[in-house]
């Protein structure tokens, strides 16, 4: 009964989305005020029905309703409650439902928190979001309903063991919140193009939504990387896998959009450029959805693919992207930007930032789609591996990082960098000297690239800190958006440091070890003491006891495991990781090689935590900037929402 209610709720949600499109877009076009009054109800109705559908599926998982095919395929009697709930989005159908729930939530948030917007404009924004919801709901209902029944089986096939991890339980919701959040900026852009009007207040409305979506996307990607590090990747943190790239491209485009929006808000420039970026960010999200769910690219993460789904998403992709780009081609030339700026000014730094960010997104897109292109035209089956990205991605990003450190100090319109130039040169020199000294002492040797990476990273950190420092010293007010920017940029510096050191000085070794033996790696002695059996709720396995010592002092005891999940019979590696501020030590248990011997992968990963700390700082910076005073609506108008957009949405 419950699954049928869920299915019905989704059909009703589809109807609500249809009403939203009809009354929102048509009402705004025909200027029927009474029609616009329906819009908030349709938004609320869509959310309630989607949430009901989602609740029904969750219920089916919690009570082990194995008559539902999706539950039987992705759950099991022994599966712990947390993973039964996470199992809802463990495969294609449920994760698509989660996607839609998040979209409905964003739509609801825009509807509830945008009281300050003109009615027609808001109706258009919500109408566009409704159109996206309508398309995806019809996709879900026609090709991938999670509520289909099957002859009940006594026990389910269990959730993919790799997904049975706390980080992965929250990674998809976070990532989707970011992914889907790009649709809000898209809807704002389309609404502006439909109106044929775009001004500073438009940018001010759009900015917080874009930033929040970006914060979610940042957190989602970072969580995914962290999960890959300790579950999937045997210690790698980024693989340039097609599916990772699919989330990274919208991130790069959103980052460019955030910066371009700043110019549009403050100076009324880059209008058509900003629109194009808003469209691109969402297009890249849709593209990602397509790549992950259609099976056109080879990836370790892709969902089990089904070409009929692929065709449906391709049609959606074509409709939304071609439609919005055509609208753009028609409207953008009429949205001229007024006013100029000097060659040395914050505007031109931000323009360069945008060009470089897009170039890096282009590199990722090229690498991701190249195998597909070659195959489509029968030019051979190729794969583009990390070496390509490691070289090509650096070309735009190194100058970008340098520009970040300088551009923060440039003023709008016409900057006089001579004044700050001297100080920045000193910063850079200090950063370079510090890097040389630190690398020489800590690791003995370094390459030019390592030095460059460290120096640039340190340079941004120092440069970012100097902005609030100067303001505080001169007793100027430090606005939250400036503070947020500095923290986010500092995060980028920390991230760059982490990546440089971790990539330059990591040590990895596959070895064969028997209990009682030990191996020396990077000055640490890894001793394999013993091996014993362990049992979990739905798995059995073995656990090794590894004692790590340095200079006869015990540093850590790790318990890497090899689990076999009872139902799917998949072995899974649970690595043992000793976390430290300056290094991680990593032991993964391979397989039994003989009587007593086991294969193991030992790793020394210096400063790897900086990668995620940096990403976290970027996200925190974004959150802080959203709470800036100017995004809060006049308190008199909405006394119930003192926190403003950002805070109120953060539920």
């Amino acid at each position: 009964m419950i699954p049928e209610i869920g299915h019905l709720a989704l059909i009703l949600a589809l109807v609500m989305a249809g009403l939203l499109v009809f009354f929102g877009l048509l009402g705004a076009w025909l200027e029927k005020v009474t029609w616009l009054a329906v819009v908030p109800f349709a938004v609320a109705g869509q959310w309630i029905f989607v949430a009901t559908g989602f609740g029904c599926l969750t219920y089916a998982f919690v009570v082990h309703d194995f008559s539902v095919a999706y539950v039987a395929d992705n759950s099991n009697l022994q599966l712990p409650l947390l993973y039964r709930i996470a199992g809802v989005w463990g495969a294609h159908e449920g994760s698509l439902l989660l996607w839609i729930l998040i979209l409905a939530t964003w739509t609801l948030a825009v509807s509830r928190l945008s009281g300050g917007l003109p009615d027609r404009f808001r109706a258009r924004v919500l109408g566009v979001l409704g159109l996206i919801g309508f398309s995806f709901l019809s996709f879900l209902l026609s090709t991938s309903s999670p509520f289909l029944r099957r002859v009940p089986v006594p026990d389910g096939a269990d959730l993919n063991p790799l997904l049975q991890d706390p980080a992965l339980a929250i990674h998809p919701p976070m990532l989707y919140a970011g992914y889907v959040g790009t649709s809000v900026a898209f809807a704002f852009a389309v609404a502006a193009m439909l109106e044929g009007r775009l001004d500073a207040s438009w940018a001010r409305w759009t900015r917080p939504w874009t930033t929040i979506a970006w914060v979610f996307l940042t957190c989602g990607i970072a969580l995914g990387s962290w999960w890959a590090y300790y579950v999937l990747g045997w210690g790698g943190w980024w693989f340039w896998d097609a599916v990772e790239n699919a989330s990274f491209m919208p991130w790069l485009a959103s980052t460019a959009l955030i910066h371009s929006l700043a110019v549009t808000e403050k100076r009324g420039l880059f209008k058509s450029w900003t629109l194009l970026l808003a469209v691109s960010a969402f297009s890249l999200s849709l593209l990602g959805t397509f790549l992950v769910r259609s099976g056109v690219v080879v990836s370790v993460h892709a969902f089990a693919s089904d070409p009929s789904r692929g065709i449906f998403i391709l049609a959606l992709l074509g409709f939304f992207i071609l439609g919005s780009l055509l609208l753009y081609a028609w409207r953008a030339p009429t949205l001229g930007s007024e006013g100029g700026f000097a060659l040395v000014s914050r505007e031109s730094f931000l323009l360069m930032n945008n060009a470089l960010l897009l170039a890096s997104a282009g590199v990722v897109l090229l690498g991701t789609l190249m195998p597909m292109f070659m195959d489509a035209f029968s030019l051979g089956k190729i794969s583009v591996g990390p070496p390509f990205y490691n070289v090509a991605f650096l070309v735009p990003t190194l100058p970008l990082i340098l520009l970040v450190g300088v551009g923060m100090h440039a003023s709008w319109k016409q900057a006089h960098l001579q004044r700050v130039g001297m100080r920045l040169a000193v910063f850079f020199a200090v950063a370079a000297v510090l890097s040389v000294a630190a690398l020489a002492v800590a690791y003995g040797s370094f390459s030019v690239m390592t030095l460059l990476g460290c120096a640039l990273g340190l340079f941004i950190v120092v440069s970012s800190l100097s902005v609030p420092w100067k303001k505080i010293r001169h007793r100027e007010t430090l606005s939250r958006s400036v503070l947020g920017m500095c923290i986010a940029h500092m995060g980028l510096g920390i991230f760059a440091l982490g990546v440089t050191v971790a990539q330059s000085y990591k040590i990895e070794k596959d070895i064969s070890l028997a209990p009682g033996e030990s191996y020396l790696l990077a000055g640490y002695r890894f001793s394999f003491e013993s091996l014993h059996d362990v049992t979990g709720a739905n798995w059995d396995g073995v656990e090794a006891k590894m004692v790590i010592s340095a200079a006869d002092r015990r540093v850590a005891v790790l318990y890497p495991q090899k689990r076999v999940y009872r139902v799917q019979r998949n072995p899974m590696t649970q690595a043992g990781i000793s976390v430290g501020p300056t290094r991680d030590l990593f032991v993964a248990l391979g397989e039994q090689l003989g009587e007593e011997r086991w294969s193991m992968r030992l790793q020394y990963k210096p400063f790897i935590r900086f990668i995620w700390i940096g990403a976290l700082a970027m996200a925190i910076g974004g959150l802080i900037s959203v709470t800036d005073r100017r995004y809060r609506r006049p308190a008199a108008k909405n006394p119930g929402l003192p926190g403003g957009l950002g805070v109120a949405h953060d539920n």
């Binding site: 060659l343 170039a359 282009g362 051979g380 583009v384 070309v395 294969s599």
Partner: protein, 146 residues
């Protein structure tokens, strides 16, 4: 300089930067592509030696051999027409299993032996790498043995 000239310079600068980046990217791409070959292509001598390539297929049942206690492992990869022996030193992925589709990355040492530096198996049970699927779909050769 007039504002118009300045803007022109900016645009030219950006264009220059972008084309330079494209140049680097395409060069990096050319150097870092690895082509996929199926065991039949390897057996027929189509795959180059001494270059990084990928070879994929199903791991033949009963072909995984390892010296007790050694990291060195050998197994056969087949597209059901021809077989290539893969030699690998290191930890195999969790989902590596006989009868499973895998892709190995490495270099060809002789017509029938492939030295892998990486072995990939997907984390989806029902998975078979698309390249493997496609190569399996080709018609069987005359006189192929089961």
């Amino acid at each position: 300089m007039t504002p118009r000239r300045k803007r022109l310079m900016l645009v030219v600068g950006i264009l220059l930067g972008v084309s330079l980046a494209t140049l680097f990217a395409t060069r990096a791409l050319r150097e870092n592509l690895s082509y996929f070959y199926d065991p039949t292509q390897v057996a027929q001598g189509e795959a180059p030696r001494g270059r990084s390539i990928r070879v994929g297929g199903m791991v033949t049942k009963g072909s995984v051999k390892r010296e007790s206690g050694s990291l060195e492992v050998k197994f056969d990869v087949t597209d059901f027409r021809h077989t290539v022996t893969v030699s690998y030193r290191g930890v195999l992925p969790d989902l590596f299993r006989e009868g499973q589709g895998i892709i190995a990355h490495g270099q060809l040492a002789s017509d029938r032996v492939f030295v892998a530096d990486e072995v990939l198996a997907k984390h989806d049970e029902k998975y078979m790498p698309p390249e493997v699927k496609q190569s399996l779909k080709k018609p069987m050769n005359e006189g192929a043995t089961p």
